[in-house]
Amino acid sequence: MSFLDYAPAPESTALLNLRPEYGLFIDGEFTDGHGESFATISPATEKPIARVASADASDIDRAVAAARKAYEKRWSTLSGRDRGKYLFRIARLVQERARELAVAESLDNGKPIKESRDVDVPLVAAWFFYYAGWADKLDHAGLGANPRALGVAGQVIPWNFPLLMLAWKIAPALAAGNTVVLKPAETTPLTALLFAEIVQQAGLPAGVVNIVTGAGETGRALVNHTDVNKVAFTGSTAVGREIARAVAGTGKRLTLELGGKAANIVFDDAPIDQAIEGIVNGIFFNQGHVCCAGSRLLVQESIHDEVVDRLKARLSTLRVGDPLDKNTDVGAINSAEQLERIRTLSEIGEAEGAERWSPACEFPENGFWFAPTIFTNVATSHRIAREEIFGPVLSVLTFRTPAEAIAKANNTPYGLSAGIWSEKGSRILAVADKLRAGVVWANTFNRFDPASPFGGYKESGFGREGGRHGLAAYLEGGVR
């Protein structure tokens, strides 16, 4: 160890007080599931953390019935002010238990503690705080006077931001007066179950929030349940399509937040230091397990070599390893399955002729790891330029004119996000206008805020989460 190396600085797991087994959270209580329970493991060590129940169709029936009863008997009769107070309570409880939630999230998901501690969990609290204030102000949401709630919402969330996606789903749904049944991802159920405890501590009426764990079959049973009025899903475009088909003709309202292949466009007049940081943050934040990740770097030809050299230098300083270490920049890949997908697509990238580069990394003995990777010499036809890799892999393409940059950026069935780097304001605004993407970050990337609507164009889905727009997904008179 040289004086430039960091000593290990692991966050303590002592404040975690996990149970060996978790049931389903239905009607305010933890109960057994009728499916086969499964272990949730730490992707950094492959060691089991806890066993988790699996909900079958009968459990989904119970959960939806509890949510329906809570909606009709209790939640829909409460004033908006009181609904809001419950949400404020939740926001405060999340803040109080923030460190515990961050540690649990990093343990279960593999993301660096500095991200779960400084990004995920603070945003979770902010999301509940923001929507709490809307609960008694729905008349002002732009959907007419007294907009009505939809009823029971079935919500299915992914593993990349487990607790944050829960907050994105539950906070607006409850503020608007709905009750929910939420299914966390199979590989990351832990923080949703801790959240169930928070729901108990907040004294939320039983059945308003129900958490059902399980795999795809559990999610399918929830989405297809006839007594669900609204389906909200975040995940892959393939599953999104399946859900859109399943919901067709049922009258259920649907919002989908799906995949992406965002272009991060760097013009030759960009502030280079900030751009390098932004590119790194854009694709290596959360191991690239981000639907809005800036996975396609479009760099103006004249500065290509400089940008790539500086990126390589910067990547060489990233610390890959123990998610619980406070100095870690890139944590573990969430699952063996995801690691396999990243490996496969990266190998295809090489086979198709792109040039692969990664810094030297030392990985822990166990766990799922993938070094931050840059592909240069990438053509728009390459699979690594078209398909969502959902890992720490950046494809670098070039352009000569703004028109070419825009055409390449839009040349994808996705349309979730995009980045623009330039010091010229008029150019930023003109390019932002022409990008077919729901979120455009100019001279920044991967910023999120409960006040700011987020969601896709085209095959990245429809509906918005966050802001006033996010309420429309859970109210009559709202769009879709």
Binding site: G142, V440, A442, V479
Partner: protein, 287 residues
Amino acid sequence: MSTHLSVPKTYKLFVGGAFPRSESGRVYEVTTPKGGFLANAAQASRKDARDAVVAARAAVSGWAGATAYNRGQVLYRVAEVLEGRRAQFEEEIAAQQGVSGAVARAQVDEAIDLWVWYAGWADKFAQVAGNANPVAGPYFNISVPEPTGVVAVVAPQQSALLGLVATVAPALVAGNTVVVVASEAHPLSAITLGEVLATSDLPKGVVNVLTGSPAEIAPWLASHDDVNALDLTGAGELEWIDLEIAAAQTLKRVLRPLAGADAVAPSLSRITALTETKTVWHPKSLL
């Protein structure tokens, strides 16, 4: 005094600003409710639907890129030209639907007023549907609605003109372009409206009108990769669930069937349902 022998109109499709016959060469008889012959309307085919989508796609950048003020003026111009040709619309509606002159007149009145109402929204709806966002950091952050792109519409089938206008006009406000399948039984007003649109400074391809069987044409539009949204307002009598399922393949935005007065009521949500919200961030101070 000589008597004038009338010159009946050939009703064709309205695609890309032109009035082609169906490439299939097919026509179908349009009659009064009592069965009297009115005209042979073009019976559009799958190929016609695809041509219409191509025309609509080509028109998106120009129409979406026009200023909101300009779009508003064009839509208002449609109302002006429609007003000037109201006699023809009244006559056609009365003949097709078998209603009195007064009823036909009321339908034209309502259609004209809808164009005026929607024209006025063009440079306003973004102020209502978009907003600045007070994020917790030094960022400029704004959300604005943008057009979804190409919208395929199955027009309400009961009325000859009103349902068509009630679905097409709101789609145009934000800058979308439209392929609309007209009322099968009453298609003549749709083609005459095409003549109005063609002379109202609406760029070619912004609205494309197909006549024929919605049951035959709609599935091709629902599954078309280059259609962004599917308005099924008038599809209640069709196998519309299959259409919604087909639309899922490309994750189209779908407006489900709607009947009665709701289907033709002026509605801001008809405009916003066919938009996408774009949120733009920029640092205020960190650079």
